[in-house]
Amino acid sequence: MGKTHGTVALPWWKEAIKNWYKFPWIETFITCLIALCVYIGWLFISWTVKAPPEATHSVSYVSAWISGFFFISLGIGFLGTLCGIGGGVLWSPIAMAFTPMNSVVIRACGLIIAMFNALVATGPLAKTGLCNIRLGLFFMIPIALGAFLGAKSAIYVAKVFGVAGEGVIRIILALIIFALCFYFITGGKKIEYPEVKKEDRFTAFFKLSLPYYEPSLGKVVDYKLHRGLWLWIAIFFVGLIGGFFGMGGGWAVVPALNVIMGCPLKVAAAVSMTGLGMGSCASVWPYFRAGAMIPIVVAPLFAGQVVGGIIGSYVLIGIRAVFVRYILIGTLLFTSFGLFTKGTQLLGWFTLPTWVRLGWALVCVGVVIWLFKKGK
């Protein structure tokens, strides 16, 4: 990403330094500067600050937690966006499988992670024709409704079913993540420019198409859409799962828009970020109102996603993103097993011996190696 200076295109970072006082660089620099001061600078300063006598821990202890959560969120946002898997899909399953945190708190944090990476990207994307707000609004209704109901159900299940509910939720999430891994491995069906011969009356009524200029083709791409009603039904269930488990739905919304509705792949990816980010603004509030968002804990996750989203959209990636995707698939595969075993443990069914867990870890490593070889 760079503009021309004479006949040579500037790399993005040179352009940023040259135009630091102009939008969007100035707010990027301010945000990164505040993050640097708060999550690195303050961490060192906190060693010299004394806590009040009644405090249970030192200031540096709390600051280390805050910085830790920020960097975890930054990494998740960056890697998830890079690999097209999404941050929410990484955070919620891994946290539920390997941390002792309460699942409602985990899911609330997961929604924050899924939401803000998408929302921050909407600003730059909306200036291009890729981000079709009309299409985003169109699927926001079912996803906001589904996600809101999912979130309310999550709070209800946690209140009524207690530890048994925690176990069942983990087992169901394990099965979903396992199915997702299988879908990521097989690649799923993706069509860059689907051919839609005729719009149905329901979809045509909403006039959803928005032509956009595609630089790689050097021309304007106009597209037709169809099967809007089927998309609504599919997206409602995606929202339900996303709201219940605290995950985003980009992994499902993009193929739904692309395959069901015939939306060009780039437009589907851009619109899904906008629609999911805005739709999640409805699903996050049941968790917020239930007190699942502890401010000092959630704030660094929020900041990590914003900073990660800003930086991620400008960084040129030297490594092949597809290889990082393979490692993440292996991680999710291992996580799904961890979720399943934790769920069975909470339900009091059985606890698997260590050698079985180690064996599964080796299977996951084998899968990653196989994917690498297949990718080459």
Partner: protein, 138 residues
């Protein structure tokens, strides 16, 4: 090379509203916890126990009970009555981020009304109402 099509004004306005509210919310969310730690007596809840309670697997109600010394969670809008306390500033940052879609959808609804696109006026206002209801209603 073909001429680039004109981007609808509602696209740009919606994107900018979401972007700037998230950016400003993130600045408050970054600064708030530091203020909480610098001025520990000026907080609604104790900043020193939160991470231990969360990592200990406590439920949200239990966490708030300890942080507020026996009181219940005051609701997500508590920042209104407690600024400029550190945790209120943090909460305001989160509140802004989580509610950014409300002004965005409301504004583009008004734009659609001026454009006489009543279908999307209703859809935008419907989404805005859903978010408003989630924030303040059931």
């Amino acid at each position: 090379m073909e001429q680039k099509p004109k981007i609808p004004v509602e696209n740009i306005i919606c994107g900018q509203i979401l972007y700037w509210i998230c950016i400003i919310g993130s600045w408050l969310a970054m600064i708030g916890p530091i203020i909480s730690l610098l001025f520990p007596e000026n907080n609604l809840s104790s900043p020193y126990q939160a991470f231990d309670l969360v990592w200990g697997g406590k439920k949200p109600a239990e966490i708030w009970n300890v942080l507020l010394s026996g009181k219940n969670f005051p609701g997500p809008h508590f920042w209104i009555h407690h600024l400029p306390k550190g945790d209120a500033i943090t909460q305001l940052g989160l509140w802004l981020g989580c509610s950014c879609a409300l002004p965005a959808t409301f504004t583009i609804g008004i734009i659609y009304l001026f454009k006489k696109d009543f279908v999307f006026f209703i859809i935008s206002m419907g989404v805005a109402f859903m978010i408003f209801y989630a924030m303040f209603g059931g």
